[in-house]
């Protein structure tokens, strides 16, 4: 289709939107409700343009091109409409930019700046809707909501959770959980993908940095930190580095400078998870247990299945997530080994995830006799602490994790990307079952952003069918396949967030699918870089079984490393 935009000729395929055509022509059209990973909503109307012969302006994000179309994006009528629209939004939006979690990362702020809005002609009347701080994971502030519906799309279409939807109408319209109830009281996975969808600060993580500052300041408290596999591939973005930059060694150095007494690694317990979960898989395969075994590392996924598929709870691996295994071991194994009173140990997790905050707060997560994990910070919160403390990333030299809970393999590193847990498990299961060395460690069939990935693995004659889903919408689709019983699956990995943990709800703004791809690349670079790439080869793992746990699925493991689940209401 040939058309002109501001007199510039451009040719695009039929079905292209005016917005995409303009991009091709090198014409920028401002947007707000538009999101590169979402279907068209066309509700904010910021992107309106003149289309010749059209009675009204048209939303460029939604309007399809036509042969010979004449589009103008910079006329007086267009500029007036855009400005009025942005002023209308600003006039209902709190003016507390300086104190907002999204200050300088706010798309409304950027839009107002881009359009040169200096004053707002409408009286300032803020929306009145109470803040929702009911969950340990997320804070919703509907007063800041601009009702762009990006979170609604993510929550319903991408995540299939359906927790968020517009309620009321007209100027009272606001996006809220079902029945306008607190988030904690409805079926929400707490995955936090809505945070990434939100252009403003209407949904943010629950900030727990004060608790960590307080612990660090207390000389009587022994503060240990664990970092999730996905953090090293994303934290750099908080320091302004491009997506896909690996910052493992600098992150360790920076954490030490913040004052943590020990800098440990969740990758260690990721390796441990493989030992336990791999053993569980083999046990269920050989003893006729419930199949498929479904992974249990992702707390957003766990809450989802508890709400929506309680009938499949017996399929879940009973393994705790690496975070919770770490907490339980830090206050038992490590405490004993280091001769420290577990009561004085304070465990901080750095996670890609908002649901991890909920997980750490689950009542059953006290196997050590104490709260196993005291505080969970997202990568965004840690980024803020680093900025506040003045960490100079450019001048930090790489440092190593502390022993013994800091040793890990490439198999643990790939936990951070979708398919990683599956791949790590297969690397170990293959060798444990076949007693042969695995030559090609890369199970590429389970990697990448394809919605649902399947593979059949030959374990020396025993063929096992595996499937991987990331994002809860895809998970739902896979669960329906499992329930329909069209195919027998033996092992299934599910991560709540698109792309896996590198795309988690606690990850740096902005997290889009394009950014996720770059982070995934970094994860596999980290794997390649590691001297050891199979969990069962981790010497610290061998050591902990010898000194403390005994054997996988043993009595001590059962006590400290395994858990149970709770069916929850669907609404």
């Amino acid at each position: 289709m040939k058309l002109t935009i501001n007199n510039l000729p451009v040719e695009v395929p039929a079905g292209t939107t005016v917005l995409a055509a303009a991009e091709k022509a090198g014409v920028r059209i401002p947007t707000l409700c538009h999101h590169p990973d979402q279907d068209v909503k066309g509700v904010c109307r910021v992107c309106v343009v003149e289309v010749e012969k059209s009675r009204t302006l048209q939303a460029a994000c939604a309007f399809p091109v036509a042969e010979g179309m004449v589009v103008r994006t910079n006329t007086a009528a267009v500029r007036e409409a855009r400005r009025v629209i942005v002023e209308l939004m600003l006039s209902r939006h709190p003016k507390d930019c300086l104190g907002c979690a999204r200050n300088r990362r706010c798309e409304l702020q950027a839009l107002a700046e881009e359009l040169g809005v200096r004053d707002v002609r409408f009286t300032h009347i803020e929306k009145k809707h109470p803040k929702d701080e009911s969950t340990p994971s997320l804070v919703r502030d509907p007063a800041k909501c601009v009702v762009c519906r990006r979170c609604v799309y993510t929550c319903n279409e991408v995540q299939a959770v359906g927790a968020l939807f517009p309620a009321y109408r007209g100027h009272e319209t606001v996006v809220v959980p079902a029945y306008d109830k607190p988030l904690l009281d409805i079926a929400c996975s707490l995955c936090g993908q809505c945070v990434h969808a939100c252009p403003v600060g209407a949904i943010t993580e629950h900030d727990d940095t004060d608790k960590v500052w307080a612990a660090l300041a207390d000389p009587k408290t022994h503060v240990v930190v664990q970092t999730a596999p996905a953090i090293r591939a994303t934290l750099g973005e908080e320091a302004g580095l491009p997506p896909g930059t690996l910052v493992t060694g600098k992150m360790v150095a920076a954490l030490r400078r913040l004052g943590f007494d020990r800098v440990f690694d969740t990758d260690f317990t990721a390796d441990l998870t493989i030992m336990e979960e791999g053993s569980e898989l083999i046990q269920r395969l050989t003893t006729g247990g419930t199949l498929p075994v479904i992974t249990s590392c992702s707390p957003g996924w766990i809450k989802f299945i508890e709400h929506f598929y309680p009938e499949l709870l017996p399929n879940l691996s009973t393994c705790k997530s690496p975070q919770q295994m770490f907490g339980a071991l830090a206050k038992t194994y490590y405490a004993k080994k280091a001769g420290i009173d577990p009561a004085s140990i304070f465990v901080v997790s750095i996670m890609p995830c908002t649901a991890k905050k909920f997980e750490a707060a689950r009542p059953e997560m006290n196997a050590s006799g104490y709260r196993d994990v005291d505080v969970v910070l997202t990568s965004r919160e840690l980024g803020r602490m680093f900025r506040e403390s003045g960490v100079d990333w450019g001048r930090l030299a790489d440092e190593e994790f502390d022993d013994p809970l800091g040793r890990s393999t490439g198999a643990a590193a790939i936990f951070g990307a979708t398919g990683g847990v599956m791949e790590a498990a297969l690397r170990t299961a293959y060798e444990l079952v076949t007693k042969k060395e695995l030559k090609n460690l890369d199970f590429v069939a389970v990697r990448g952003m394809t919605k649902i990935k399947e593979a059949t693995i030959d374990l020396d004659g025993t063929k096992i069918n595996v499937a991987v889903a990331h994002g809860l919408g895809n998970a739902k689709e896979l669960l329906e396949r499992i329930k329909r019983g069209e195919k027998t699956y033996h092992f299934v990995e599910i991560m709540a967030c698109p792309g896996g943990c590198i795309g988690g709800g606690g990850q740096p703004i902005k997290t889009t699918n394009a950014v996720r791809e770059q982070r995934i690349d970094a994860i596999y670079r980290e794997d390649k870089r590691m001297p050891l790439r199979k969990s069962h080869e981790n010497p610290a793992i061998t050591q902990i079984y010898a000194e403390f746990l005994g054997q996988p699925l043993g009595h001590k493991s059962h006590e400290l490393l395994h858990t149970h689940y709770t069916a929850r209401e669907k609404v």
Binding site: A81, V84, L88, M89
Partner: protein, 562 residues
């Protein structure tokens, strides 16, 4: 079939129902029986007769004598005088203020003996309303006896679907819901759209304040809708139809459901209609009363069980409508016109109305007008003829101030535009719209700014909240007009509100937001001095806006002093 020497028609439209018509009807039946006249005189419950202001109305045929404001206690006398003694009961006859030609001042009331003599009816051409007030809407036999289902039979047995489309196209029938899109063209698009499953939807959401035509058509002649839908379904290749009626329309839903049931019993709906291979069925779905659900795509959303919000266009309903299938969606009045067009031909239909707006239009007259009610007139009739001819003028000796045409989103027309012809294009030129056919008349006691405030509040309440210009814009329009009524608006606000209104009209997602500023803009255009008095002089000339200065003369004239 038994023959009766007289039929007594009792209006059972919603408006008369509110005025104890049922008691009148019961009393009539009892009285007729008591006097042993049951074999000679039949009491018939009919749909709306149109003279809602004068209800409950009773018409006695064969003479066609109209009795107004009949109470149950009037019944014995009525039966005694008219039906036994053959004398007209003068005190219940319809009286009309007969204005001197063109003037707004009455020359005194005149009693009219029969229906055809009345100004109210003389100016009307009843095509859509031809059965309303004449037949028992709950009797399919009466509908058939008056030519009903002949058009459907003709179409199915003697016409191809394409020929039906052609006939409707040739008639020039335009959508009566407000937008005025050619109905035949819409059917042609739906007929040509790819897909095995197609739908015909009847839009009976009728949300415009002051509009009740669809309601009274549904109550008065439900089979006309069924026949129109069946014709549309045959034309486009649909086998399923839905009628989306607002939930408040209890009587409409009742009568239409009864009519659907009877049509099914008579094999006029269902499988193999008229022995052909044409199957068609209709289901009623009720809405919850949101104004936005009258917008076709929001209606689909609601019908599908979602939140009533408009969709982006394109795709248009004829390509992807209800459940994503090609759908023709027509207003009640449009569908009620179809059978008559097929029965009598496009050429006949074009004999009414104007070149670009053929046919007739049903209007609902409300506000400061003598004959509040329902009328049907040829397109192109002037506003003056409607208000002062058929409508009987402005009551209480007041003078005409303005008429809002087309419902809340319509423009307000001042006295200078009384001679505007009422059709789609002429009204659009005047900044108003034919819209749903609502005509709200206001006399000179009303403050234009206060009226604009009421309209603005309506839109603020009814905006669905989906797009920014409408969601926030309706809120701000109301803020401005309300401030004006309190003397708090500034000339600068007026500038801002103009920019806002332009933005809403150009950038809103759907017609609701696009039309929401129309009443404000049109009143600003025609009554600017009244706004200026409110904004610059902090004065309300009619004394409506409390807290503003009011000239003493206006106070006493408006009867709002003390």
């Amino acid at each position: 079939m038994r023959l009766f020497r007289a039929h007594v028609l009792v209006c059972a439209g919603t408006n008369c129902s509110l005025k104890s018509n049922k008691a009148v009807q019961d009393r009539l039946v009892r009285e007729v029986e008591r006097r042993g006249l049951a074999d000679e005189i039949k009491v018939v419950e009919t749909g709306c007769f149109g003279l809602c202001e004068q209800g409950p109305t009773v018409v006695v045929y064969p003479e066609g004598v109209l009795y107004c404001r009949v109470t149950p206690d009037d019944v014995p006398e009525l039966v005694e005088e008219h039906l036994l003694k053959g004398r007209r009961l003068d005190r219940l006859l319809y009286r009309e203020e007969v204005p001197a030609a063109g003037a707004a001042v009455s020359a005194g009331p005149k009693a009219f003996q029969t229906v055809p003599e009345m100004n109210f009816f003389r100016g009307q051409v009843r095509i859509v309303l031809r059965n309303c007030g004449i037949i028992d809407p709950e009797s399919i036999e009466e509908y058939i006896a008056n030519g009903g289902y002949e058009a459907l039979g003709k179409a199915i047995t003697a016409m191809t679907p394409a020929a039906v489309v052609e006939e409707v196209k040739a008639s020039g029938l335009r959508g009566r819901g407000g937008a005025g899109f050619p109905a035949g063209l819409k059917w042609e698009f739906a007929a040509k759209a790819k897909g095995d499953t197609k739908y015909i939807v009847c839009n009976a959401d009728e949300g415009e304040p002051g509009t009740f035509k669809d309601r009274l058509i549904l109550e008065g002649d439900p089979h006309a809708i069924i026949e129109g839908m069946a014709l549309a379904a045959y034309a486009i290749g649909a086998t399923q139809g839905y009628v989306y009626i607002r939930g408040e329309y209890g009587l409409s839903i009742d009568r239409l459901q009864k009519a659907i049931n009877r049509a099914k019993e008579m094999k006029l709906l269902g499988r193999g209609i008229f022995g052909s291979k044409f199957d068609f069925d209709i289901e009623i779905r009720t809405g919850a009363g949101a104004y936005i659900c009258g917008e076709e795509t929001a209606l689909f959303e609601s019908l599908e069980g979602g939140r009533g919000e408009p969709r982006l266009k394109p795709p248009y309903p004829t390509d992807s409508g209800l459940f994503g299938k090609p759908t023709a969606i027509n207003n009640v009045e449009t569908l009620a016109s179809v059978a008559q067009i097929i029965a009598n031909g496009a050429k006949w239909y074009r004999g009414f109305g104007t070149e670009r707006s053929p046919g007739t239009k049903v209007f609902t007259l409300t506000g400061d007008i003598v004959n509040e009610g329902l009328i049907e007139v040829p397109m192109g009739i002037t506003l003056r003829e409607i208000i002062f001819g058929i409508g009987g003028g402005v009551p209480n000796g007041r003078s005409f101030k303005m008429a809002q045409s087309g419902g809340t989103s319509g423009g307000c027309l001042p006295a200078a535009l009384l001679d505007v012809p009422m059709d789609y294009d002429e009204l659009a030129k005047a900044g108003a719209a034919l819209g749903s056919g609502a005509l709200l008349i206001m006399d000179d006691t009303h403050c234009i700014v206060d009226i604009a405030r009421v309209f603005a509040r309506f839109f603020m309440h009814e905006s669905c909240g989906k797009c920014v210009p409408c969601r926030e814009g309706t809120f701000r329009l109301h803020e401005f007009v309300e401030n004006a009524t309190k003397g708090k608006a500034t000339p600068q606000d007026l500038q801002t509100v103009h920019a806002l209104a332009r933005t809403m009209a150009l950038a809103s997602l759907c017609p609701l937001g696009q039309a929401a500023p129309v009443p404000l803009l049109s009143t600003l255009q025609y009554f600017r001095d009244e706004y200026d008095q409110h904004i610059n002089e902090k004065r309300c000339p009619t004394g409506t806006c409390r807290g503003l200065a009011t000239p003493a003369k206006a106070l006493s004239a408006a009867g709002k002093g003390a």
